[in-house]
Symmetry: C2
Subunit: 397 residues, 2 copies
C-alpha cells in the first residue's frame, strides 16, 4: 500500500475545513470569509496542527489571492467612478488619510519600526465593499443616497488603496525613505492606474474582433486569465505586489466583463481557489503572540480603525446631517480581504512581524464583525417594510 499523498490530503482537508467553518459562520449570519480564516487558525500549524500547509498549498493560495483581486478589479467599472461624483471621492480620500494617520501614529508611538507602522496603517485604509453591499442589499436599501455614496467611495477606495500599496511596497523596497524615489513610485502607480482604467479598456475593445476570430474555445476567458497572470508577474518584476497587477488587469476588463460573461466563470475558479487563500491567512496567524500587551494594541488598533473610518468618511457628508454621516461612516468600516492581503504582502516581504500581522487579522475580524449589526440599526429607517416572502430568510440576517 502507498503512503497517502500529503498534497492531496491537504487539498481535501483544507477545502473541507474552510467550507465547513464558512457554512457555520454563514448560519450564524457572520461573514463566511472570517470562518474560512478561523479554520486556518484553529486546525492549522499554530492551532490543532490537523493540517500543516506545504509550499504547494501556499502557491495555490497565492493564485487564489490573484484571482480574488482580479475579480475585485472586474467589479470596479471606471464609468461608475465618473458617475458617483465628487462626494464619494472625498469620502474615499478622507477615509484613507484619517485611518492611515491614526494607525501610523499609534504604531510609531508603540515603538514599531517605521516600515511596519506603514504596512499596518495601510491595511487600516482598505474598505471591503463586499460585506457592506451584501448587508445593504439584504435590507433593500441600496437605492438610498448613503448607500450610493458608500459603494462609490468603496470603488475609489479600492483603486486608491492599490496605489497606496504600490507606493508602500516601492518605498520599503528602496533603501531608506528617499523622497525623490517615493514621488517617482507614486507617479508610476497613479499612471499605471490611470492607464489601466482609461486606456487599457480601449486596447481590450480593439482586441475584440481578433478574439472572435480565434479558434480556441472561450477565448475571452483565456485572454483575461493570461493578462491577469501576465500583469501579476509584471507587477512583481517592477517591484510591486502580484495582486496589484491582478487588480489592474481586472480594471482593464471591467467594461467587457458582463458581455464576455467573465464574472460567473471567475466565480467558479474562485470558489475552488479562494478557500485555500483564506485558510492560509489563518494558518499564518500565530496565536501565541497574543500576550496582554499585544491584546491591548489589537483592541486599540481595532477601535482606531472603526473611529477613523467613522470620522474620515463621515466628515465629507456632515453637511447633510450627522445621521447621513453616521450611515456612510459605518458602511465604510469593514476591512475584509484587501486589508488582509496588504498585511500578507508585508509578512511575505519580512517587513511585518508575526505580531503586527496578528494585529491586522484581529482588526479585520473586529471591523468586519462589528459593522453589519450597526448598519442594520442606522439604516433601519430606510428599510422597505415588506420584503417579498421568498427573500425573507436572507433578509432575516
Amino acid at each position: 500500500m502507498h503512503t497517502a499523498d500529503p498534497f492531496l490530503f491537504q487539498l481535501f482537508f483544507i477545502f473541507v475545513w474552510a467550507k465547513l467553518f464558512g457554512e457555520v459562520f454563514e448560519r450564524l449570519h457572520l461573514p463566511p470569509v472570517l470562518g474560512e480564516i478561523l479554520a486556518g487558525v484553529l486546525v492549522g500549524p499554530y492551532g490543532a496542527r490537523l493540517v500543516v500547509p506545504t509550499d504547494a498549498i501556499y502557491a495555490i493560495a497565492s493564485i487564489g489571492a490573484i484571482f480574488l483581486l482580479f475579480t475585485v478589479g472586474l467589479e470596479t467599472q471606471p464609468k461608475d467612478l465618473i458617475g458617483v461624483g465628487r462626494i464619494s471621492l472625498f469620502v474615499a480620500l478622507a477615509g484613507i488619510a484619517v485611518p492611515f494617520l491614526f494607525g501610523f501614529t499609534y504604531m510609531v508611538l508603540r515603538h514599531h519600526a517605521t516600515h511596519e507602522a506603514i504596512f499596518v496603517a495601510a491595511a487600516m485604509c482598505a474598505t471591503s465593499v463586499g460585506i457592506t453591499a451584501r448587508v445593504l442589499g439584504d435590507m433593500r436599501v441600496l437605492q438610498t443616497l448613503s448607500a450610493k455614496i458608500i459603494l462609490g467611495a468603496a470603488v475609489f477606495d479600492d483603486v486608491l488603496g492599490m496605489i497606496a500599496l504600490a507606493i508602500v511596497v516601492g518605498m520599503v523596497s528602496s533603501t531608506g525613505l528617499e523622497w525623490a524615489q517615493l514621488l517617482l513610485t507614486a507617479i508610476e502607480a497613479i499612471g499605471f492606474a490611470l492607464i489601466m482604467m482609461f486606456y487599457a479598456p480601449r486596447v481590450v475593445k480593439r482586441m475584440e474582433p481578433g478574439m472572435e476570430r480565434m479558434s480556441t474555445q472561450d477565448a475571452p476567458l483565456i485572454i483575461a486569465l493570461a493578462i491577469c497572470l501576465g500583469l501579476s508577474y509584471a507587477a512583481v518584476k517592477v517591484g510591486m505586489a502580484a495582486i496589484i497587477g491582478a487588480f489592474f488587469a481586472g480594471l482593464a476588463f471591467a467594461e467587457y466583463s458582463p458581455r464576455w460573461n467573465l464574472r460567473p466563470r471567475l466565480f467558479s475558479i474562485n470558489e475552488f481557489l479562494a478557500p485555500f487563500f483564506f485558510f492560509s491567512m489563518g494558518a499564518r496567524l500565530n496565536m501565541d503572540v497574543f500576550d496582554a500587551k499585544l491584546l491591548v494594541s489589537a483592541v486599540v488598533i481595532s477601535l482606531l480603525a472603526i473611529i477613523s473610518k467613522l470620522v474620515g468618511c463621515g466628515l465629507p457628508v456632515l453637511y447633510s446631517g450627522w445621521k447621513q454621516a453616521l450611515k456612510v461612516g459605518v458602511g465604510m468600516v469593514p476591512r475584509g480581504e484587501v486589508g488582509l492581503i496588504v498585511a500578507l504582502v508585508g509578512l511575505q516581504m519580512n517587513i511585518v512581524s508575526e505580531s503586527a500581522y496578528a494585529l491586522v487579522v484581529f482588526m479585520t475580524g473586529i471591523t468586519t464583525l462589528v459593522a453589519p449589526p450597526i448598519m442594520k440599526i442606522v439604516f433601519h429607517e430606510d428599510m422597505v417594510l415588506e420584503p417579498p416572502l421568498r427573500e425573507r430568510r436572507r433578509t432575516a440576517m
Copy 2:
C-alpha cells in the same frame, strides 16, 4: 528591485505557451490538446528550457488531471450505459481485450519488464471519446447507428478502463503477481464502480434537500468539489490512482450535473488548470530517448494501437457489414487524455521508464491525429449534405 517570483513566471508562461500552441493546432484543425502537450515538449526542460516546471506547477497539474477525470465521469451517465445496450458493451470489451493483448505481447517480446508492458498495454486500451464526438458532431452524423454504438462503447470503455487501471495499479503495488490478490483487487474495483454508478447517485439524491438548506452559496459545486477531492485522496489511500477516485466521483454526480449546472462551472476551472496538466505531460517527455530502436517500437506500437482497435471494435459489429465495422473501429481509435494519464501514473510510480512513457505519448499523438481524417472518409456517405451556413466554418475541419 525584487527578483521576480519564479512561480508566477512559470504560471504565466506555461499558460500562455500552452494556449498559444493549442490555438495554432486548432487553426490547423488538429486537436488542441496535442498542441498543449507539444508546448511542454518544445519549451520544457527537455526542449528549449524556456520554462522548467517546479513542484508547485506539477502539483497544479495534478489537480488539473483530477478535475479533468472528474469531468469525464460527469459526462458518463449510467442511464446512457443501460440505453446503448449489449453491442456497445461487446465493442468496448473487445476494444480493451485486443489492444491489451497486442500491446502486452509486443512489449514482452521486446524484452520490457512485465509491469512496464502491462502499463503500456493498459494505455493502449483507453478510448478518448472527446475527439471522436467532436468530429462526428461537426459532420452532423451523430444520429447514425455507428455513431451511437461508438459513443456508447466509449462510455463503457471509460468505466472499464478505470477498473483496469485500478487492477493494474493494485497488481504492481503488491509483491509479484499473486492471483488471489489480483482477483481481490478486481472485485474491489468493479464493486467500487458499481456502487458509484448505481448506489452513489441515490445518496446524492438524498443529500439534495440538505444542500438546498445550506447557507453556503453554490453548495452543489462545493459539495461536488469536496467529494471529488475526498475520493481522489481515498483512492490513493487504498492504493489506487487519485484520478480513479475523481472519475468515480464524477459518475456519482453525473445524473445531477445538468440540474446543478456543474459542467459549465467545472469547465471554467478546467480552462485554467488543464493547460498545466497537458504542458507537464509534454515537459516530462525526454526527446533524447528516441533512438532508432525506440522509434521503431513507437511506430509498431502506434500501428498495433490502430489495428487492434479496428479489429477489436469492428468484430462485434461485423454481422452488419464491413463498412459498419470500419466506422465503429475507426471511431474508437483516438486515445487522448485517459491513455496519457495511465502512462503518467506509471511514470510517477517508477514502473514506466522514460522511454516507455515516450512510446505512449507518441502512440497517443499518432492515434489522435490519424483517426479524424479517416473518420471523415468513412462517414462521408452519412453526411447531411447542406449544413446551415453559420456552422460551415466548424464543418470545414
